[in-house]
């Protein structure tokens, strides 16, 4: 965990006081609804379908057990006893009262938390790989860079009224687990191995960033463009400021649907936009925002680090239990990731139990998970953008007992990376923007695929559901994506295949899914998904070939045919219906 210093704490406290005053003025009728809206939004407060919704920041998804207990306390005291972990590694409360929000923020501030810039047209919570600091394929510990960016983006005076929201993701490992090609800015840490960097100055081994600009989901999904292959780390902030200044000045403000940076990059062409950024950067380069080694070290040192006991290798008792207990082995295979420290592992606690909205956790569960974190993972945990919780520093020798406790809490669904590990937004049950519900759809699919053997046979598959084009459920990058659409006031669902969240393995880059055809009613969805899976199982060349690999190899036509019939059959059906009409 990054520990606040006195100034970090003071700024968060001052924010609470500021918002308390703004809320007071609003409730006293001194601020109009129109004036208050952008002010409450930059404190994470939406007015939703049934009540306000408060989104609390979990910077880069990292939480201490103490903070999680505060989140549980808030759920109990001011909400209805639960919270929803979102795809941006935050937590949302769906039932707080507006007049209570200043008190909630004050409670958060006591444990170094806040709701700053969790919505509104500003830089949002910086997201990253939920295995930062523990992954075997680590290049840098991305948490340090995320914290540097958190401080830089917090109350940035120039970029607090952007044309639209702005999302930055940082990936510090070889595999892209942060979807960096689908963010307004994506940063991939790179270690310059072969002597001079692209600027000709950096010595070998220097850290820099591949800078990717203009990606995004939403109504117009676009894969981001690489602006810099290697930006030496001292220039990180000035280069971002150059990008953001060009966007702030020229991004569209007349149409909310065309206001994201991706639209500006597309309109100007990535080449022209990049030239403008470079021209702006020529003025900003080497100015005081240039990062210093002392600052990077200072931030690094303010992080508490897990203390690992030195172990020679895999724990013998653990290996024996794996061999003896197939159910434990299955959970370990799916929900436990090897760790960079020998004898340790990272455990995913699944918030995807069938019948429970994906990402939801009750206050009691949160308290219990805080206990697990204290006992087994050095008091820390992470929220993944797949809406699960991660205990990142567990001794292998503790895994079996942890598994038992997680099972008792309903957090051990052994389905990470599988079809039933559905990513979904809160959808029409809660969100006023949604066209359609997402939670009952997720549940119906989980119920259809309730046989674990079948789920394992299907293998790795990302299934994502969004209740509307805002794509909070990241449906564009699901191997199977489901999107709620409104047709004359009725809820329908459009299905796409072939999306991918990022370069999670060599040769599988980020991709946006393709829609297979006309949309379906809610009841039809499980059948349609089963048909898509059926064609995949027939066409795959081996178990190693995943659903997404088959889609990319054979194209979407065979999937379409299985669902809608052959082109010929579709034509005939159309003719018949025309004749009948």
């Amino acid at each position: 965990m990054y520990r606040y210093d006195e100034i970090d704490q003071r700024l968060v406290d001052e924010r609470v006081a500021q918002f308390r005053d703004q809320t007071r003025r609003f409730l006293a009728g001194k601020l109009s609804e129109d004036d208050f809206r952008p002010l409450r939004l930059r404190n994470g407060l939406y007015i939703q379908r049934y009540a306000p919704m408060l989104r609390v920041a979990i910077p880069y998804g990292l939480l201490s057990s103490r903070q999680l207990r505060t989140l549980a306390h808030i759920a109990r005291k001011w909400d209805r006893g639960y919270g929803h972990f979102s795809t941006r590694q935050n937590i949302q409360y769906n039932w707080p009262k507006l007049e209570d929000v200043p008190d909630i923020l004050a409670e958060l501030a006591k444990v170094e938390m806040h709701a700053i810039q969790t919505s509104g047209n500003s830089v949002r919570n910086i997201t990253t790989d939920h295995y930062a600091g523990v992954a075997q394929d680590e290049i840098v510990d991305s948490f340090v860079w995320c914290e540097l960016l958190r401080q830089w983006s917090t109350f940035h005076p120039e970029f607090s009224f952007l044309p639209r929201k702005f999302k930055i993701a940082v990936n510090g490992a070889e595999a892209d687990r942060a979807a960096i090609f689908l963010h307004d800015i994506g940063l991939q840490a790179v270690r310059d191995k072969g002597g001079a960097g692209s600027d000709g100055a950096s010595p070998g081994g220097e850290v820099g960033f591949r800078v990717i600009v203009g990606g995004g989901m939403g109504r117009t999904p676009i894969i981001g463009h690489v602006f810099r292959e290697f930006l030496p780390w001292p220039h990180l902030l000035t280069y971002l400021e150059a990008i953001m200044r060009v966007y702030n000045r020229y991004g569209r403000r007349d149409n909310i649907h065309k206001a994201r940076i991706k639209i500006l990059v597309k309109a100007r062409t990535p080449e022209k936009f990049r030239e403008e950024v470079e021209a702006e950067w020529a003025h900003l380069k080497d100015r005081p925002s240039t990062l210093t080694e002392e600052e990077v070290r200072r931030v690094e040192e303010r992080f508490t680090r897990p203390q690992y006991e030195s172990q020679a290798g895999d724990d013998a008792g653990h290996l024996a239990r794996l061999a003896a207990e197939p159910a434990f082995a299955a959970w370990t295979k799916r929900n436990v990731l090897p760790h960079k420290a020998p004898g340790y592992a990272a455990v995913t606690l699944s918030l995807k139990k069938t019948g429970v909205p994906p990402g939801d956790a009750t206050a009691d569960q949160m308290d219990a998970i805080a206990g697990l974190a204290d006992r087994y993972s050095q008091g820390e945990l992470r929220v993944s953008h797949e809406q699960n919780l991660i205990l990142a520093d567990v001794r292998q020798s503790d895994l079996h007992v942890l598994w038992g406790e997680a099972k008792a809490l309903g957090l051990a669904s052994p389905n990470i990376g599988m079809i039933t590990n559905i990513i979904a937004c809160p959808g029409g049950d809660f969100c006023s923007l949604a066209n359609a519900k997402s939670i009952p759809v997720a549940q119906a699919i989980q119920e259809r695929f309730d046989s674990l053997d079948y789920v394992y046979d299907i293998g790795e598959l990302d299934l994502n559901i969004s209740g509307c084009q805002n794509s909070c459920g990241h449906h564009h990058v699901g191997h199977i994506g489901i999107l709620g659409v409104d047709k004359n006031g009725e809820e329908w669902y459009q299905i796409s295949v072939g999306g991918n969240q990022g370069l999670t393995r060599p040769g599988a880059p980020a991709a946006v899914g393709k829609v297979i055809g006309p949309s379906f009613s809610q009841e039809q969805i499980p059948d349609v998904i089963e048909k898509l899976i059926g064609i995949y199982l027939e066409k795959r060349e081996s178990e190693a070939e995943r659903f997404i690999d088959v889609v990319w190899r054979i194209g979407i036509e065979p999937f379409k045919e299985r669902v809608y019939g052959t082109h010929h059959q579709r034509q005939e059906r159309r003719n018949r219906s025309l004749a009948a009409a």
């Binding site: 001052e14 002010l39 830089w152 109350f155 005076p157 120039e158 702030n248 210093t292 200072r298």
Partner: protein, 169 residues
């Protein structure tokens, strides 16, 4: 005369800001008195405006380029930037460019949809004068300068970012 905030005090405003007519045409210029004119008027009536006996200022709308007045800054007593809407944040970048790139040292004024909740950021970006929208209490708005006691970033007000000012722990 109207009240404005200047250099963290409430003062009366000696300037008259001329706005375009609703059809986009330019209004007449009063024969005397300090005026702040729209950019289009500065471009169209430059010589007449310089010949007037009173002081001259210019204002930019949020889509206009500060580079358009960069060469002329020495002729102005004030430069203003209009915020057509609270949420239109282009003026923050314009202010930084005027201060940090084009070297404007004189009065930089925020006009338009301005109220207390923007003042802290506006001030950070280099504005030192504020014409609040109608109905706002300028005296009460002075509190906004101390909404926050510090800031992480480099800005016009605090050229060194916090990390270059922190005392080693």
């Amino acid at each position: 005369m109207a009240l404005i905030i200047k250099d963290r005090n409430v003062v009366t405003d000696p300037w008259l800001r001329l706005e375009l007519n609703t059809d986009g045409s330019l209004p007449p210029v009063p024969p005397s008195g300090d005026v702040i004119v729209p950019l289009a008027m500065w471009h169209g009536q430059r010589d007449q405006l310089i010949a007037r006996p009173s002081r001259l200022g210019v204002w930019l709308d949020s889509h206009e380029e500060p580079a358009a007045i960069a060469e002329d800054l020495r002729l102005f007593g004030v430069v203003a930037v209009n915020f057509p809407k609270f949420g239109d944040g282009r003026g923050y970048s314009i202010a930084r460019l005027l201060r940090e790139r084009y070297g404007w040292k004189g009065e930089l004024r925020a006009v338009g949809d301005i109220f207390r909740d923007q003042i802290f950021f506006l001030s950070s970006c280099g504005f030192n004068a504020f014409t609040l929208r109608a109905g706002e209490d300028a005296q009460e708005a002075l509190g906004a300068f101390s909404d926050f006691s510090d800031a992480y970033q480099s800005s016009v007000e605090r050229p060194l970012p916090l990390f270059r000012r922190r005392q080693p722990a």
